[in-house]
C-alpha cells in the first residue's frame, strides 16, 4: 500500500513538473535553462568597517548588521538576559547567557559561550557558578587583551566571576558587597559602581588573592546617581560616568582610581546645570542604553529629552555630542518622533538606545522601542539609513 501511495505521488509530481516545464518553455523559449543551485552556508567577513550588533532584553539571539548597507549579516544564538563581548582581534564572540534544561524550568545553566567570528560555530561552553539577570551592557566584559572575562553575579549578594579565556575555565570569584557591574581596566583589574557613591577597584593577579580598593564617595546615589551605562577604555582605564541630572565625572580607573571634578552637559550647551526637582523642567539624559562614547576622539553622545527629574528612562528627542576633553557641546542632532502605537510605557517612543562605531568616520546606531531604527553620520547627524526592527535594547560595536 505504501509503495502504491509513493508511486501515485511520484506520478503526480512528475505531471506537475511537466506542466511547469511546458509553461516555462512557452514563456521564454530563447532563455537558457537556469543552473542548479548548491545549498551552502555563508561565513562572516572579518573586515566590515561599520558592523554593529543588537539584542532584545529577552531575545534569543544577537543580530549582526552592516551599518553601511543596513543588511543583516547573521545572528549569534543567545540565552536568557544575554550579553556579548567581542574579542579585540575580532576573532571570537563571547556570549554570557542562561538556560534552563526545559525552557523556563529544569536545571539552570549559566554560561560563557565562545563562538568563532567567521563561521559562528560554537567553540566552547564555560559553565559559570551563576550570573546576574539584569539587562545591562556592563554586567559582562573582557579585559584589554581579551584574555579574561568578568561576569557580574547577583544572588542577591554581589560578586564578580572571572574567566580565564586562554584556559577556558572559571578562575575565581571576588565579592564586591554593595557594588555592581564591571568596568575593566588593563590586564588584571576592573572597577564597580557602589551604593555609597564610591568606586570599588579590584586587582586580580595571575596567582594570589584579589585586592580591592575604594575611592571616597564622590556622588550621591540617592539624589543624583550615576547611570549604569557608563564607559571605560579598557586599555587606558579612562572612564566617563554620567549622572541622572547630567553631570559627567571623568575618571582614570586602576588600582588607585582617580575621579575628576564633574562638569554639566547642560552648562556645556549654554543652559543652567539641571537639578533634581520633580517639577524642574530641563534637558535631561534618558533612555535605556542612553549614551555612547567614541574613544579616539573623546566624543560623548547622549540621548536627551526635556523632562522633570525621575524621567531618566525616557527616550531621547535629540542626540547631544560633547567633547569630553574641552567640555564643549559640539552638536545637537534632532530626532524625528517615530510612529507609535500609543500604548505601553513609552507613548511617544523616541530613541532609547545608541551605539557609535569606533573608526575615523563613525556612524551612530539608534534603536527605538517600536523598531524604527536609524543609522546616522556621527559627525553631521545626517540620516544614512532606516532599518526596520534592528534590535531591542542594546547595541555593541567592535573595537570598544
Amino acid at each position: 500500500m505504501i509503495n502504491a501511495a509513493i508511486n501515485k505521488w511520484l506520478l503526480a509530481a512528475s505531471m506537475g513538473l511537466s506542466a511547469w516545464a511546458a509553461t516555462a518553455s512557452q514563456a521564454s523559449p530563447a532563455l537558457p535553462v537556469l543552473e542548479p543551485e548548491v545549498s551552502d552556508v555563508a561565513t562572516l567577513r572579518l573586515d566590515v568597517p561599520h558592523r554593529f550588533f543588537t539584542s532584545g532584553w529577552d531575545g534569543d539571539s544577537f543580530m549582526i548588521f552592516d551599518g553601511d548597507s543596513g543588511k543583516m549579516e547573521g545572528s549569534i544564538p543567545a540565552g536568557y538576559i544575554s550579553n556579548l563581548a567581542i574579542a579585540p582581534d575580532n576573532s571570537r564572540f563571547y556570549v554570557s547567557e542562561t538556560y534552563w534544561t526545559h525552557g523556563a524550568r529544569g536545571d539552570r545553566h549559566d554560561l560563557v559561550s565562545i563562538y568563532d567570528a567567521k563561521s559562528l560555530h560554537l567553540m566552547k561552553e564555560i559553565r559559570l557558578p551563576g550570573r546576574a539577570l539584569v539587562s545591562k551592557v556592563q554586567n559582562f566584559d573582557i579585559n584589554a587583551s581579551g584574555s579574561r572575562a568578568y561576569v557580574y553575579l547577583l544572588q542577591p549578594a554581589s560578586s564578580v566571576v572571572w574567566v580565564d579565556l586562554k584556559q577556558q575555565v572559571v578562575a575565581g570569584t571576588v565579592e564586591i558587597p554593595g557594588c555592581a557591574l564591571v568596568f575593566p581596566w588593563g590586564e588584571q583589574g576592573f572597577s564597580s559602581l557602589c551604593g555609597d557613591g564610591s568606586l570599588a577597584s579590584v586587582s586580580i593577579p595571575e596567582s594570589g588573592p584579589a585586592k580591592v580598593t575604594h575611592t571616597r564617595p564622590f556622588f550621591d546615589a540617592n539624589k543624583d546617581p550615576i547611570f549604569d551605562d557608563s564607559f571605560v577604555d579598557r586599555v587606558t582605564g579612562n572612564a566617563i560616568f554620567l549622572s541622572y541630572s547630567g553631570l559627567v565625572y571623568p575618571a582614570k580607573l586602576g588600582f588607585d582610581t582617580v575621579v575628576d571634578k564633574p562638569w554639566s552637559i547642560q552648562q556645556a550647551a549654554g543652559y543652567a546645570a539641571a537639578g533634581t526637582g520633580v517639577q524642574e523642567l530641563a534637558w535631561r539624559p534618558g533612555g535605556s542604553q542612553l549614551a555612547a562614547y567614541h574613544k579616539a576622539s573623546g566624543r560623548l553622545f547622549v540621548l536627551m529629552h526635556t523632562g522633570n527629574y525621575w524621567t531618566h528612562k525616557q527616550g531621547g528627542t535629540e542626540v547631544w555630542v560633547l567633547d569630553t576633553k574641552t567640555h564643549a557641546l559640539l552638536s545637537r542632532f534632532p530626532l524625528r518622533p517615530a510612529p507609535t502605537s500609543g500604548l505601553g510605557d513609552d507613548k511617544a517612543p523616541y530613541y532609547q538606545s545608541m551605539g557609535v562605531s569606533q573608526d575615523e568616520n563613525p556612524l551612530l546606531y539608534l534603536l527605538n522601542p517600536e523598531g524604527n531604527d536609524l543609522v546616522m553620520d556621527a559627525a553631521t547627524g545626517e540620516l544614512k539609513l532606516k532599518i526596520e526592527s534592528a534590535g531591542g535594547h542594546m547595541v555593541w560595536v567592535p573595537g570598544y
Partner: protein, 180 residues
C-alpha cells in the same frame, strides 16, 4: 517608642520573606546582602513624598480605578508586564507562577487619600514571560535607582530563591504607610 519607617518596612518585609521561603541557601545569600548594609545608604523611603511636596510626572497622572493601566498609582516604580493583565492582580501572581521572596521597593502617592505608601514590587516567577499587550508593559521610574542600589532597581529580574528564575510578570503589593 514608635518605630522608624525603615524599621517598620524591614519588619514587614522580613515577615513577608518568612512567609514565602524556607530555602536556607537563599536566606544565607540574602544575609550576605544584609551584611553589606553598612555600605548602602538608607532607603529613600524616609524622604518619601508628602502631601505638600511637588508631585512627580507619574503622580500627576496617577489613578486608582484600573490596575491594568500603567498609570495605576501603585505602579510608580514598576517595570515589566503587570500581572493584573495576566490572570493575576496588582498583588497576585497568575495561576502557576510563584512570587519571588524578595522585591524591589517603591514609594507611591495615592491620589485619593494623598498619602504615600511603600510598595513592594514582587516578580512572579518560574514560567515564561506573560505575553500581555503593550499597554500592560510598564516602566515607572519614580525614585528608581541603578543596579548598585539593587533594592531600588527595577531592571533586575527579582526571581531570587525561586525554583526557576524565569520572569513571568510583576506585582505591586502595598506594604504600609511611608514616612509616618
Amino acid at each position: 517608642m514608635s518605630k522608624s519607617p525603615i524599621d517598620k518596612i524591614g519588619e514587614q518585609l522580613t515577615r513577608t520573606l518568612a512567609g514565602y521561603s524556607s530555602r536556607r541557601g537563599f536566606i544565607a545569600k540574602l544575609g550576605a546582602v544584609l551584611a553589606a548594609a553598612p555600605l548602602l545608604p538608607l532607603l529613600p523611603v524616609a524622604r518619601a513624598a508628602t502631601a505638600t511636596a511637588p508631585k512627580t510626572d507619574f503622580e500627576r497622572n496617577a489613578q486608582t480605578k484600573d490596575d491594568t493601566k500603567c498609570t495605576y498609582w501603585k505602579y510608580c516604580a514598576a517595570d515589566g508586564v503587570m500581572c493584573s493583565c495576566c490572570g493575576g492582580g496588582s498583588h497576585t501572581c497568575p495561576p502557576g507562577a510563584e512570587p519571588s521572596p524578595v522585591s524591589w521597593i517603591g514609594t507611591c502617592l495615592n491620589p485619593d487619600d494623598n498619602r504615600s505608601y511603600i510598595i513592594a514590587y514582587r516578580d512572579c516567577c518560574g514560567t515564561p514571560v506573560c505575553k500581555a499587550g503593550k499597554s500592560c508593559q510598564c516602566d515607572g521610574a519614580d525614585r528608581e535607582l541603578p543596579t548598585y542600589r539593587a533594592p531600588l532597581n527595577n531592571d533586575i529580574i527579582w526571581c531570587f530563591g525561586n525554583a526557576s528564575a524565569t520572569y513571568h510578570c510583576s506585582t505591586a503589593a502595598l506594604v504600609g504607610l511611608s514616612g509616618t
